[in-house]
């Protein structure tokens, strides 16, 4: 019984089929990296996991709940799935503290005082205790992304989705964000990460999925996928990026 189960997932935009039938599972505590060339459908796939995209066919089951079933309260499911975006998407009209406290307070999960304490603890964890009162516009890219991770964690989710979390960062800031993610992985968080950071994927993931043309082409432990790829397309992709 996987934490996340995907069965026969298809997704089209009009006549353009982006995902052509995906079956996979993620176990509790597993860290899965999704790699592949741009346009392969990795980000779309990730966004189907918390229904930011409505799917065309198949099923996505998270914690035994079919998230596309109209009877499922998607907001409840999402409370349990944190998401981190390529472009951070911090709320510019709130300061850092309020960005993190906002959802737990607004959804009645925590009182203001509790949420504040949680937020300060999370900020310490991502190394930004001194930025609590800053506004997003005053932060660097790496700092913004660490705040975004803290914001997602504030809801205390079981699952974290990362959509190319370092792609919009200057190279010198990539490390600080990956560091926070490594800590999370060590603590046993269930994670799905769409990334172009091959070194990170090799080091952190329990399993690597290679996608191309709307299919999962190859998957396995990182040592196998990176060290001894079977599929031709995997080989040619890895040759280009490594």
């Amino acid at each position: 019984m996987g934490k996340i189960r995907v069965e026969g997932l298809k997704k089209s935009y009009g006549s353009n089929e982006v995902l052509k039938g995906i079956d996979m599972q993620v176990q509790e505590g597993e860290v899965v990296c999704v790699i592949g060339p741009s346009g392969s459908g990795k980000s779309t796939f990730l966004r189907c996991i918390n229904r930011l995209e409505d799917i065309t066919a198949g099923r996505v089951i998270v914690d035994e709940r079919d998230i596309n079933d109209p009877k499922t309260d998607i907001n409840k499911v999402r409370e349990n799935i944190g998401m981190v975006f390529q472009h951070f998407n911090l709320f510019p009209h709130f300061n850092v503290l309020k960005n993190i406290m906002f959802a737990p307070v607004e959804l009645g999960k925590q009182s203001k005082e509790e949420a504040r304490a949680t937020a300060l603890r999370l900020l310490e964890r991502v190394g930004l205790s001194d930025k609590a009162e800053a506004f997003p516009s005053q932060l660097s890219g790496g700092q913004k992304q660490r705040v975004a991770i803290a914001r997602a964690l504030a809801m205390n989710p079981d699952i974290m989705l990362f959509d190319e979390p370092t792609s919009a960062l200057d190279p010198e800031m990539v490390g600080e964000v990956l560091g926070v993610m490594k800590d999370l992985a060590r603590e046993g968080m269930t994670m799905m990460i769409v990334t172009h950071e091959m070194g990170f994927a090799r080091e952190v993931s329990d399993r690597v999925i290679f996608m191309d043309g709307g299919y999962i082409v190859e998957e396995g432990p990182p040592a196998e996928v990176f060290g001894n790829p079977k599929n031709e397309r995997t080989i040619s992709f890895l040759e280009k990026v490594l």
Binding site: M83, L90, F91, A103
Partner: protein, 482 residues
């Protein structure tokens, strides 16, 4: 929220300050008697038959006759100074019960209206600028332009001889504008009813009479054909009584007799000062109209704006059609349609104020819809995704994350809409609403001081708009910082 409360308070205070000035008494329904109060439409600028005296009271031959007849026959009435064309249309659409406005009894009008016994025998004369020596007769008009007032006997007469004498007709909606056109030299002459022109000349309107009176039709009081026959009977009976007891002659004497009052001797500043209460009352109406309409427009805009950015394609379609319709119809046409068209089709009456608020609210509502849609859509879709991914429901995400950001973007365009709507209120003068522009027309009808009064009004608009813009800019800065 504190900010919004502050704004509302400021607006209310502003309104109170401007509408607190003495409002003109247009209701003369102080006659005793039972039964319904008749609504009587009239012109606003047709001295000596109807015009406002310096205290804002409507006076003139028609007004005094109506008052005396109502007293004699013991009925209540209320005067609606709409302007001549608007009054006639209002009678046709049942918005008023009767019209007394120096209205000539013609065969054409008898098709639609029932007329009382004639109460005044008129005729058409020609007037030219006081210092004009070149125009003495109709022959001198060849190749020239002649100003006339639409719907009057002067118009019909000018039309009937236009081709014979080879002049062009320039139509105007009220007498004051027609006289101004002659004074400024755009037109060389104008045709109007004899008593009106004679009175104007006597009040120093800058013109002089150059022809003998062409015998013409008589004036009568009108009701819609077959309607309000009781009112008509009372009018005729009252008129006969007034003629018998000498009251009728006394009223005529007051305005067109040898001893009628000449122009008041006044400095230009004195005249402006004297007109101020009327103009300020008009300004109050303008502001009331602006803010009430914008208030509704904002709600309309919120509803349709949200429909436009929403996920339901039917609601999106409805909102799009709404915007297309009310952005596509000129304000003037919309005002006529709402005030004259709809009541006529559905058989009910609507006050000019309600019609004006409806017109402006729908028009501005269409624009505000687009402002709100644009504001919301200018926010990065990633913001909504981030909020939703945290488990926030759509409504909450919109209210707390998207709208606060969109509002900041919308403020400058909303201020712009406020200024546009305030200026657009002047268009509503066409349905007889006595706002600032219409107040100006009324004052000029009595004083003929076009330059001074229009300048005063322009400055008044300018001051109010500047003040509002400054307040709004201040607000905008506070929102941006906050």
């Amino acid at each position: 929220m504190r900010l919004i409360r502050g704004v509302v308070l400021a607006l209310v205070l502003l309104l109170a300050a401007t509408t607190g000035v003495p409002v003109l008494a247009q209701s003369q329904a102080d006659q005793p008697g039972s039964g319904k109060t008749y609504l009587i439409g009239t012109d606003v600028t047709f001295a000596p038959f109807e015009f406002q005296d310096p205290s804002g009271e409507f006076v003139g031959i028609d007004m005094d006759l109506m008052k005396a007849i109502a007293k004699d026959q013991n009925f209540k009435y209320e005067i609606r100074p709409l302007g001549f064309n608007a009054a006639v249309q209002a009678l046709e659409s049942g918005q008023v019960d009767g019209v007394i406005a120096g209205m000539s009894i013609t065969e054409e009008r008898k098709q639609k209206f029932d007329f009382s016994d004639p109460y005044f025998d008129s005729g058409v004369v020609m007037a030219v600028r006081k210092d004009q020596e070149g125009i003495q007769s109709y022959e001198d008009l060849r190749g020239k332009k002649v100003a006339v007032k639409t719907g009057t006997e002067g118009y019909s007469f000018a039309e009937s001889i236009a081709s014979k004498y080879g002049f062009t007709i320039v139509p105007f909606d009220d007498s004051a504008q027609m006289y101004d056109d002659v004074k400024t030299g755009n037109s060389v002459a104008c045709f109007d009813d004899y008593p009106v022109l004679a009175y104007g000349v006597k009040q120093n309107n800058g013109l002089k009479l150059v022809t003998e009176k062409e015998p013409g039709a008589s004036y009568g009081f009108a009701v819609q054909k077959g309607q309000n026959q009781e009112l008509m009977e009372k009018f005729n009976a009252g008129l006969a009584n007034l003629k018998a007891n000498g009251e009728y002659n006394r009223i005529l004497e007051t305005y067109v007799g040898e001893n009628a009052a000449g122009p008041a001797n006044q400095s230009r500043l004195g005249l402006i000062a004297e007109s101020m209460p009327i103009l300020l009352a008009g300004l109050g109406k303008t502001l009331l109209l602006t803010f009430v309409s914008l208030f509704f427009a904002f709600f309309i805009g919120l509803i349709f704006g949200f429909m436009k950015v929403g996920r339901n394609k039917w609601l999106r379609g409805i909102a799009t059609v709404f915007v297309d319709i009310f952005r596509g119809i000129p304000l003037l046409v919309l005002a006529f349609f709402i005030y004259f068209g709809i009541p006529q089709a559905l058989g009910f009456t609507m006050s000019p104020l309600v019609a004006a608020i409806l017109t402006l609210s729908l028009n501005a509502g269409a624009y505000v819809t687009e402002i709100i849609r644009g504001g919301i859509q200018s926010i990065d879709p990633g913001q909504l995704e981030a909020a939703r991914s945290l488990g926030l429901p759509y409504r909450k995400a919109m209210m707390k994350i998207i709208i606060p950001q969109a509002v900041k973007i919308m403020i400058p365009t909303l201020i712009n809409q406020l200024v546009i709507t305030l200026k657009d209120t002047s268009i509503l003068s066409v349905i007889g609403l006595v706002e600032l522009t219409q107040s100006g027309k009324i004052v000029i009808a009595r004083t003929f001081a076009s330059f001074d009064i229009w300048l005063t009004i322009a400055i008044m608009y300018l001051i109010v708009i500047t003040i509002l813009t400054k307040i709004a800019n201040r607000l905008e800065r506070r929102v941006r910082v906050g």
